[in-house]
């Protein structure tokens, strides 16, 4: 059977033109996909969690969910973390569960584009869709990101190469890459601007000063870049973790957002974060429309409070403040500093994941679930905030994240 227009559940590009062939409920071929997407579809059944586990022993699904609920209900300060690699309905149920438990809930943005959210709350954001970029942008700047390795079809589908309404191809667009190293992405750029690590805030602030007439101290390469930005017809900055993870963090993003705002005095300019996990944008949106806050939320007082640094997962774990954890569609033992994740081995940790991960290796309870976007349907948000529908293309007896969380909610309420 051939499934057309499948949405890829890997990165924030959410490419929606994947063609997947299945035979006897197995994926046998994937077309239009990048190398990572292909690997995700073709290997989705490899290294799966074969059964539910409690203390390393195989148990029934019901027993695992019962044990998980007991642990969470008896904890004083449980942590719920993950969410960005599952669909929005599951995210909504996870937030509901956090409210019932009086838990802290955080999503993976806190260790990727959390600083982008903080910067946006401060400075606002001039946004546009990837469709507008494709149709109109004549200056495309990738700053502190490497789509050639991380968002592989971004160039081809949305920015550099596609045939748009007013921009017909590569030769009608100027591409600039700004980074601390000459990445694979720098090779396709018209201009590569190399910066020193930890200097983004300073560089962007000097560019803003130049725009406001203070023209003395800007290095030549950055002056040329500002001039290009001022004189283009429609410009876009795509930025990545080069800004959010290095010195300055949210202040770097804040400066970039303000630079784009300033540029709109001269021309049309927008800015978009290169979101990593395919539904991390959805996790922020769902948390914001349910709780009022996009990440790092605590329900201990019965109503939501948000404070990154206090209720963010890395900080909660590093300070050993939680006494149980529910990890949904994420692998903090692989992605968090060891100093932080090791607390997960000290407390009863529950993991909901389709696959064996580093965190399932140290978990007390492991619950195998359907892979969203392959074995379960749902909604995901693209990096520009456009919601797309994930498809179910393979049948499975495993429950979806949403179904498991619904059961947990029923048991907590009982």
């Amino acid at each position: 059977m051939i499934h057309e227009n499948v949405v890829c559940p890997f990165c924030g590009c959410l490419c929606d033109d994947i063609v997947v062939t299945t035979e006897d409920n197995q994926i046998t071929d994937v077309k239009n996909a990048c190398a990572i997407s292909k690997s995700k579809f073709l290997n989705h059944h490899v290294n799966m969690l074969e059964s539910a586990l409690v203390d390393g022993k195989e148990v029934s699904m019901d027993e695992a969910v019962d044990r998980a609920t007991e642990i969470l209900s008896s904890a004083d300060n449980p942590l719920i973390y993950g969410l960005s690699s599952t669909e929005c309905e599951a995210q909504r149920h996870a937030i509901h569960l956090a409210e019932l438990l009086g838990a802290t809930i955080d999503q993976t943005a806190s260790v990727c584009h959390g600083p982008t959210i903080l910067g946006t709350q401060d400075a606002g954001c001039v946004k546009c869709t990837l469709g507008e970029v494709k149709n109109r942008a004549d200056l495309i700047i990738y700053w502190g990101c490497n789509p050639a390795e991380a968002h592989i079809r971004h160039f081809r589908r949305y920015s550099v190469f596609p045939e748009g309404l007013f921009r017909k191809g590569r030769n009608e667009r100027e591409v600039v890459v700004v980074d601390v190293r000459a990445t694979a992405s720098a090779r396709i750029a018209t201009t590569f601007v190399k910066t020193e690590p930890g200097t983004d805030f300073e560089n962007i602030s000097l560019m803003r000063a130049y725009l406001k007439g203070k023209r003395d101290s800007l290095p030549d390469e950055l002056r040329d870049l500002v001039e290009k930005m001022k004189t283009c017809t429609f410009g876009i900055i795509f930025f990545g973790l080069g800004l959010t993870m290095s010195k300055g963090k949210h202040l770097n993003v804040d400066a970039a957002l303000r630079l784009v705002r300033d540029l709109n005095e001269f021309t049309k300019f927008s800015i978009t974060p290169m979101r990593g996990h395919y539904n991390v944008t959805g996790a922020g949106s769902t948390m914001a429309w349910v709780t009022g806050y996009p990440f790092s939320v605590n329900f201990a007082l019965g109503y939501p409070l948000s404070n990154p640094g206090e209720f963010s997962a890395v900080d909660v774990l590093a300070r050993k403040e939680c006494d149980a954890a529910l990890i949904i569609a994420s692998d903090p033992a692989a992605n968090f500093p060891a100093e932080a994740w090791k607390h997960l081995a000290d407390i009863p940790t529950i993991v909901m994941d389709p696959k064996v991960s580093l965190t399932t290796r140290i978990a007390k309870v492991s619950i195998p679930v359907a892979t969203a976007g392959i074995e379960a349907e749902g909604t995901a948000y693209r990096m520009d905030g456009i919601p797309l529908r994930l498809k179910k293309i393979v049948q499975t007896s495993r429950p979806s994240d949403a179904a498991v969380l619904t059961k947990m909610i029923e048991k907590v309420r009982a």
Partner: protein, 127 residues
């Protein structure tokens, strides 16, 4: 030798993670550090040799690969080995300093730890 440590995504890391983080593909593509060839010559190491990377927060043994990165930098893909080297301080943002940490590197005969060895060391070490 002192370097500035960077971490980030690579295609090979992404492909291998989808096969499984306990797979050999993942180890081969994530427990690596990309270094400048001139720096590797100075250190007397060649492609595939093992390097011990130390920071204020921990140490990791990884294989070195040639790259056109700057001489004063090293790049380790996101994953459990890079996360041995990064601290948990977030300066009130939730975000650790995952890029730009100062590190010391030297050639070593120590083995690259598998995912399970690494987990056991951290879990046992906390007691």
């Amino acid at each position: 030798m002192k370097i500035v440590l960077l971490s980030g995504r690579t295609t090979k890391q992404g492909v291998a993670a989808e096969i499984g983080k306990t797979s050999d593909d993942y180890l081969q593509n994530v427990a690596v550090i990309q270094l400048n060839p001139a720096l590797m010559d100075q250190m007397g190491v060649k492609d595939g040799d093992r390097i011990e990377v130390k920071t204020l927060h921990g140490s990791a043994v990884v294989m070195c690969h040639k790259s056109d990165i700057e001489e004063n930098m090293g790049f380790i893909p996101y994953g459990p080995w890079a996360n041995l080297l990064i601290g948990s301080e977030t300066q009130g943002t939730g975000m650790p300093d995952s890029k730009g940490t100062e590190a010391e590197i030297e050639k070593t005969d120590k083995n690259v730890e598998s995912v399970d060895e690494l987990l056991t060391r951290i879990v046992e070490g906390r007691k």
